[in-house]
């Protein structure tokens, strides 16, 4: 029996509208709309169970086949041109931290990273087992983790949105530009995505089935997640709250899970404090501030790959899909009965909001690498909405997601590679190398460890120390270059971006040099190789 909010005498009941008036004279009944569960979730009636089982079995088989295809697609896309791109600057940090002895790792963590140590330890072990540190070897674990993320997203989607939802989520994950980039990068991001997806899925399954096994898995995955990357806390905090409030979970498991999150975090706190105190490079402000473009990239996190800057529409479409999916899942009554709906929304939205707020207070952190932890949950949210919304709406939503993903996939797999082609530039220099030559990095490469990686591998030992300069104008004041100039040696410059020819001549003239050969290397960041010889 409910009362009308503005008309207290009006009763919503079967007996009539006005109190005290016999039913026969006022038979109006106000029907309160009720939620109709999706057809796929309607349980079969008793007596039809054998047939229902058969149907369910066939559905399972079909879903298994489709999942297999999705995983193969993911593996293929993640492995495609795996070693084609030169190492990215961040990957070189991974390489640098994971080679040599463990004391090097500690130094590297303190001075050049803002991440916990677990990934580097894993990579350290892997490189020693593999016996190689080539680009492909370094990236292979990420590919495997990427496929694992797709599979675990299917599991999570299955739990939240049913089999169809799980398949849609896995399909979107397989072609997610963000996942593709990180599955091809020797960094921790794809691993932390894997750990968190597993943690959330295991927690949901564990609380539903009251299974200690799954809850243990959730706790272990959560601890691993926090040891892989600090941003895991954006997901683990809502997960811990959700699990604490979940009915039927024993108190010791609740406490255990909170400890599994809190203890590693507390243990890492001193390291984090030290890393944060060193701060970011000033240069990060130029690309990681919360500009409109970066805000769009964050809002459309799962669709953010190495997209060309011009593809604004695809970015907007991606952001639109994410916002729609999260808002609908959170607010629309249609999805009210989906299990763990709020957990998925929180895990998808909190990282985005947190990073955007950090950007708003001036921190140069507006990058999707920090919101990557949200991607699996956003994809599950999209899938849940697509699987349970009106068909037309679902079709529009999925089509938009496919367009945004497609644009990202195409640009991510462009021929020129993902990152500046440092390897090709150093290779050519090595090919024409003469004893006594000196290689110098200019511009962004001044910070780019890729030069040291490839110098280490391709240049003659003893001559592979590569000084780095911000600009060519400062060359005359850099001691290693001054030494080389005084000795009349040939100089090789690799510049990112390419140097203006007039500026180059002028600067070299000041050194008493001239450019004898230049070559430009296309890619997402163009670089230029310059050979300079003394004027005679």
């Amino acid at each position: 029996m409910q009362r009308h909010p503005t008309f207290p005498n009006l009763l919503f009941a079967g007996e009539g509208v006005w109190p005290g008036v016999p039913h026969r004279v006022n038979p109006i009944v106000i029907r309160i709309p009720t939620y109709a569960p999706p057809r796929s979730r309607v349980l079969p009636a008793e007596g039809l169970l054998p047939r229902a089982d058969a149907v369910a079995s066939a559905t399972r088989e079909r879903a298994g086949l489709l999942l297999g295809l999705v995983l193969v697609l993911a593996a293929a896309l993640f492995s495609l041109r795996l070693g084609h791109s030169s190492l990215f600057i961040d990957e070189v940090f991974s390489w640098n931290a994971s080679r040599g002895d463990l004391s090097r790792l500690a130094d590297s963590l303190r001075y050049s990273e803002v991440t916990p140590p677990l990934y580097y330890l894993l990579l350290y072990g892997w490189l020693h087992i593999a016996g190689s540190d080539s680009e492909i070897v370094m990236r292979v674990p990420s590919v495997l983790a990427g496929v694992g993320v797709v599979a675990s997203i299917y599991w999570l989607g299955l739990l939240v949105a049913g089999r169809r939802g799980g398949l849609i989520a896995a399909g979107l994950a397989a072609i997610s530009p963000l996942l593709m980039v990180y599955a091809q990068q020797a960094r921790a991001y794809v691993w932390v995505m894997l750990a968190l997806t597993l943690a959330v899925a295991a927690a949901i399954q564990g609380s539903r089935d009251r299974s200690s096994r799954y809850l243990l898995l959730a706790a272990v995955a959560a601890a691993v997640g926090i040891l892989l990357h600090y941003t895991a806390i954006f997901v683990l905090a809502p997960l811990a709250i959700w699990l604490w409030r979940a009915p039927g979970v024993h108190l010791r498991w609740r406490i255990g899970f909170v400890l599994a999150v809190a203890l590693p975090f507390v243990a890492l706190a001193p390291l984090l404090t030290e890393q944060l105190s060193r701060g970011h490079h000033d240069i990060a402000e130029s690309y990681a501030a919360l500009s409109p473009l970066n805000a769009l990239r964050i809002a459309g996190t799962p669709f953010d790959g190495r997209m060309l800057e011009g593809i604004v529409l695809a970015r907007e479409l991606g952001a639109l899909v994410v916002i729609e999916a999260l808002a609908l899942l959170a607010l629309a009554d249609r999805f009210r009965r989906l299990p763990a709906r709020w957990l998925i929304v929180a895990c998808g939205a909190i990282p985005l909001v947190a990073v955007a707020l950090a950007g708003a207070i001036g921190q140069p952190t507006a990058l999707t690498r920090y919101t990557a932890v949200a991607a699996p949950f956003i994809l599950v949210a999209i899938a849940a909405v697509a699987a349970h919304a009106n068909r037309v709406f679902a079709a529009v939503l999925v089509t938009c997601a496919l367009i945004a993903s497609g644009a990202g996939v195409v640009s991510s797999h462009k021929r020129d590679g993902l990152y500046p082609d440092t390897r090709a530039a150093v290779s050519i220099a090595a090919e024409h190398w003469q004893h006594g030559d000196r290689l110098v990095g200019i511009g962004l490469l001044g910070f780019d460890g890729a030069l040291s990686y490839y110098g280490d591998k391709l240049l003659p030992r003893g001559q592979n120390a590569i000084p780095a300069l911000r600009t060519l104008d400062g060359a005359a004041e850099a001691p290693p270059i001054v030494d080389a100039v005084l000795e009349g040696r040939r100089l090789w410059f690799i510049s990112d971006p390419p140097v203006d020819s007039a500026n180059l001549s002028k600067s070299l003239e000041e050194l008493g040099y001239r450019a004898t050969a230049t070559q430009e290397f296309p890619g997402s960041g163009r670089i230029e190789l310059i050979r300079a010889e003394p004027l005679r």
């Binding site: 009308h4 008036v21 000033d282 809002a299 808002a327 009554d333 955007a356 950007g359 911000r470 203006d500």
Partner: protein, 848 residues
């Protein structure tokens, strides 16, 4: 409405009036700098403000009626249920409820189905027979509810008449609530609050809480409450005294009340619902219903205007004028809907650039009290629904105005007759809502465009987001079912809300980075070193209070670094600014300290046009060098070089001007926007980075001159184009212009000073910065040259009062000789001694 809510609402209303006055005064002051769109927008704001003022005056004191005494015994009551083709089961429920009214009465069904050609009129007769009530089925007479009621008057005899619509279930105690008020013999009718079966959220705002809780009680106090057509008890004698219900207008309730009041009868309003009915559940049906109401109310306004109605008191006239004319105000809100779209798509401006924060503060002072006032009266949900509904119905009211203007009572009565609100099968789409949906789509597209388009004012984007969110609710009411409507509503409003948040956060981010950089600069070691001599290098050059600074560019005057500044050329003059060009590459790439020291000794200010290029020998321009230069500057490639300059500038210690990357709106320099791979965003970013380095180094003595080309005689660069690369008010101290009278036929021949600068002046003055003519010159060797100089120096400053500095280009350009000779030079010398051109140098302390 009483107690703290009423007093709080009144306080908020007064605050809104004060805040609105301040806001509108400020807006009015800006109009001269803005275009037509802003003026139209301002008019809409002004009209709404006046409507608010009128509302506050009229509805200041609502009347809270006590419960009526018991109705007198022995009176007779007729309950009339006019029907016209409604579903029979609905009519049955209504009639059964009417029969159950706990007072001696006769229930009579007035069946208009036959006259209106409805198929079920016979079913209604059968129903009445079954229920044992009298059914009066008309076959002739005027169509419409009023005609139906009038036809029944001679056939009924009750002393009082209660009218119930066919879809309204009456309360059993209806008579007790209404009839007791008739102890006043002058009372003609008692009207009551309407109530409808609605979704809990009342998405289309049918409860009209604001109307029933404030407006009707306030009208009641002034004896101007009007009948709402249903749940109204009339005194038969009163109705007969005006010849029956008014038939010329479809809103017979309003018109009849109007006539009764004009005859001196009284009315009463009971803020209690006495029946519950149905209401439109789709936006299209709602629009259709409100179009009907609006048209007929406006007909009353246009053709029987209450202000000139005899028999009404002044307050009654005002109340009826408000009721019938309110739709005119409502229609003006169309401007609110369209303006942001136009502003974003065309680049037109609604507010002056650089005044966003002032705008936000002042409009907050205005809108926040309005929101509080509405919330106090009807709760936040009711307030939100009122605002949504007003915006949604604005185009409907605009249509109603047109219809009403062409609907004279004598000519158009028949055409407008008929039409009732659909009760069951309601239309889902209508031509009336087409405009609304188009606007909604355009708003969302505009927001999408605006996010990626530099130069669009933040406030306009936010306004577009707010409008899209507001329109999402009625826009989603397409009769698609509750789930789909909700999905649609969320799908429309979520991106708008998210876009608003993202825009706000990005602005906050830019502000945070700036302030953090400033703080960092203050704490930087370099700044600490300077602590002994003050943390910063002191103030820069500000505009004079009166007059114009005069300056010159002449290399012989500027001199070489070793022998700088010879003023033999201008004996007796007092030049305030000495100008010099310096490129980033070449011999002259470092700051000319000796020259600047010489300028300092002259108590003048050095201005350096700082050009990031290698100056070509013997050529005026060489745009194709250093491709991607701006991006490189923005990315910090030249930070070391810039920092060195900044330190030198700070060490100089006295005011100096840096005219950086000038004439960017041309195509002859490598930093010009639109060529050489340069984008507006890159220009802005490069400027800000360089500016930031100077700030970090504490070189606050540097004044920044954003100097554009005036395109003498040609169309100037528009403000919206400038907005794309104008670095922002914070980064600019002076806005400069270059302009020459070349004297070439190909350049328009001999051009007056006004032709050279006039049109560009009108644009650059909107930056609200002091204006400097960074390069002004006239072709030498023409007999008109001296006159041109005299006009420029003596008369022009009066015609262009925002010009605060004028730097004469007294040198030979590669394409034209601008050196002054003979009489022209004497004019300059003479003028430079005048008091207006020798103002005291005024300093400006820059905010940190």
């Amino acid at each position: 409405m009483r107690g703290w809510r009423l007093y709080g609402a009144r306080a908020a209303a007064l605050a809104a009036l004060c805040g609105g006055a301040v806001y509108l005064t400020w807006r009015f002051g800006q109009l001269s700098e803005l275009g037509v769109l802003a003026t139209i927008f301002f008019i809409a704001e002004l009209v709404n403000y006046l409507a608010l003022l009128e509302g506050v005056v009229l509805f200041w004191r609502p009347r809270n009626r006590l419960l009526a005494p018991p109705p007198p015994d022995g009176t007779t009551l007729d309950v009339l249920v006019p029907v016209c083709g409604e579903d029979v089961d609905m009519i049955e429920a209504t009639v059964r409820a009417a029969l159950a009214i706990d007072y001696p009465h006769e229930t009579i069904v007035l069946n208009d189905g036959h006259l209106a050609g409805k198929d079920n009129w016979w079913d209604v007769e059968l129903l009445c027979e079954r229920l044992g009530v009298r059914c009066l089925t008309r076959t002739v007479g005027n169509r419409g509810k009023a005609g139906n009621l009038n036809a029944a008057l001679p056939l009924t005899s009750g002393e009082f008449i209660v009218v119930l619509d066919a879809d309204h279930i009456a309360r059993p105690d209806l008579a007790q609530l209404l009839l007791g008020h008739f102890d006043d013999p002058r009372l003609a009718f008692v009207t009551s609050q309407q109530c409808f079966q609605l979704d809990r959220h009342d998405l289309l705002g049918h409860q009209q809480a604001f109307f029933y809780r404030l407006i009707q009680p306030a009208k009641d106090r002034d004896n101007a409450a009007f009948s709402c057509g249903n749940g109204v008890a009339y005194r038969r004698v009163a109705i007969e005294s005006i010849g029956g219900f008014s038939e010329w207008n479809l809103v017979e309730d309003l018109t009849t009340s109007y006539e009764l009041h004009a005859r001196g009868w009284h009315s009463a309003y009971v803020a209690i619902p006495v029946s519950v009915g149905t209401a439109p559940s789709t936006a299209a049906e709602l629009a259709s219903q409100r179009l009907r109401w609006a048209t007929d109310s406006l007909r009353l306004f246009f053709w029987d205007n209450p202000l000139f109605k005899k028999g009404l008191t002044l307050r009654q006239k005002l109340h009826y004028a408000h009721t019938t004319g309110w739709y005119l105000v409502g229609a003006i809100d169309v401007i609110y809907l369209i303006s942001p779209i136009v502003a974003i798509l065309t680049g037109a401006r609604l507010i002056a650039p650089g005044s966003e924060w002032t705008y936000a503060g002042l409009i907050g002072l205005y809108l926040l009290p309005i929101a509080l006032m509405l919330t106090a009266y009807v709760g936040w949900r009711g307030a939100a629904r009122s605002a949504q509904l007003q915006l949604f119905l604005a185009p409907v009211f605009a249509v109603a105005i047109v219809r009403a203007l062409f609907a004279h009572p004598r000519r158009m009565t028949r055409r407008l007759q008929g039409g009732v609100t659909a009760k069951r099968s309601q239309r889902k789409v209508s031509w009336l809502t087409t405009f609304h949906h188009t606007v909604l789509a355009l708003l969302l597209v505009s927001v999408g465009i605006a996010i990626m388009r530099p130069g669009v004012t933040l406030a306009v984007v936010l306004w577009a987001c707010v409008l899209a969110t507001a329109l999402a609710t009625p826009g989603s009411m397409l009769g698609l079912g509750r789930d789909m409507s909700q999905t649609l509503r969320i799908a429309i409003s979520a991106p708008a809300v998210a876009a608003a948040l993202l825009v706000a956060l990005t602005v906050w981010s830019a502000y945070s980075i700036d302030s953090r950089s400033s703080q960092a600069a203050a704490a930087a070691p370099a700044a600490a070193e300077a602590t002994a001599a003050g943390k910063t290098a002191g103030p820069t050059l500000g505009p004079p209070k009166r007059g114009v600074y005069l300056g010159t560019y002449n290399p012989t005057v500027a001199g070489s670094p070793r022998k700088p500044l010879s003023l033999i050329r201008y004996p007796g003059s007092r030049m305030a600014i000495f100008h010099r060009f310096q490129a980033w590459w070449g011999r002259d790439r470092f700051m000319a300290k000796e020259w600047m020291a010489a300028v300092k000794r002259r108590r003048a200010v050095p201005m350096i046009t700082w050009e990031p290029w290698r100056k070509p020998v013997g050529e005026a321009s060489s745009p194709n060098q250093r491709r991607g230069l701006l991006r490189q500057i923005a990315n910090g490639r030249y930070d070391l070089f810039v920092r060195r300059w900044a330190r030198d500038a700070k060490a100089y210690g006295k005011p100096m001007l840096l005219r950086f990357m000038h004439e960017m709106n041309g195509r002859w320099y490598p930093w010009a926007v639109g060529i050489n791979g340069n984008t507006p965003a890159a220009y802005k970013a490069a400027w800000r980075r360089v500016w930031m380095i100077f700030r970090r180094e504490g070189a606050t003595n540097v004044g920044w001159v954003f100097s554009v080309e005036s395109f003498a005689g040609g169309p100037p660069t528009t403000r919206s184009q400038y907005d794309a690369y104008y670095p922002g008010a914070r980064y600019v101290d002076w806005v400069g212009m270059s302009g020459f009278n070349w004297g070439f036929k190909s350049f328009g021949g001999w051009l007056s000073f006004d032709r050279v600068f006039g049109r560009a002046y009108d644009v650059v003055k909107t930056f609200n910065k002091p204006i400097m003519l960074g390069e002004v010159g006239v072709a030498a060797g023409d007999p008109r040259t001296a006159g041109w100089v005299r006009d420029a120096l003596r008369s022009a400053p009066k015609r262009f009062p925002r010009i605060k500095a004028m730097v004469w280009y007294d040198w030979r350009h590669p394409q034209r000789d601008f050196r002054l000779h003979g009489k022209a030079l004497r004019e300059l010398r003479t003028a430079s001694r005048a008091a207006e051109l020798r103002p005291a140098v005024r300093l400006m302390v820059r905010r940190r």
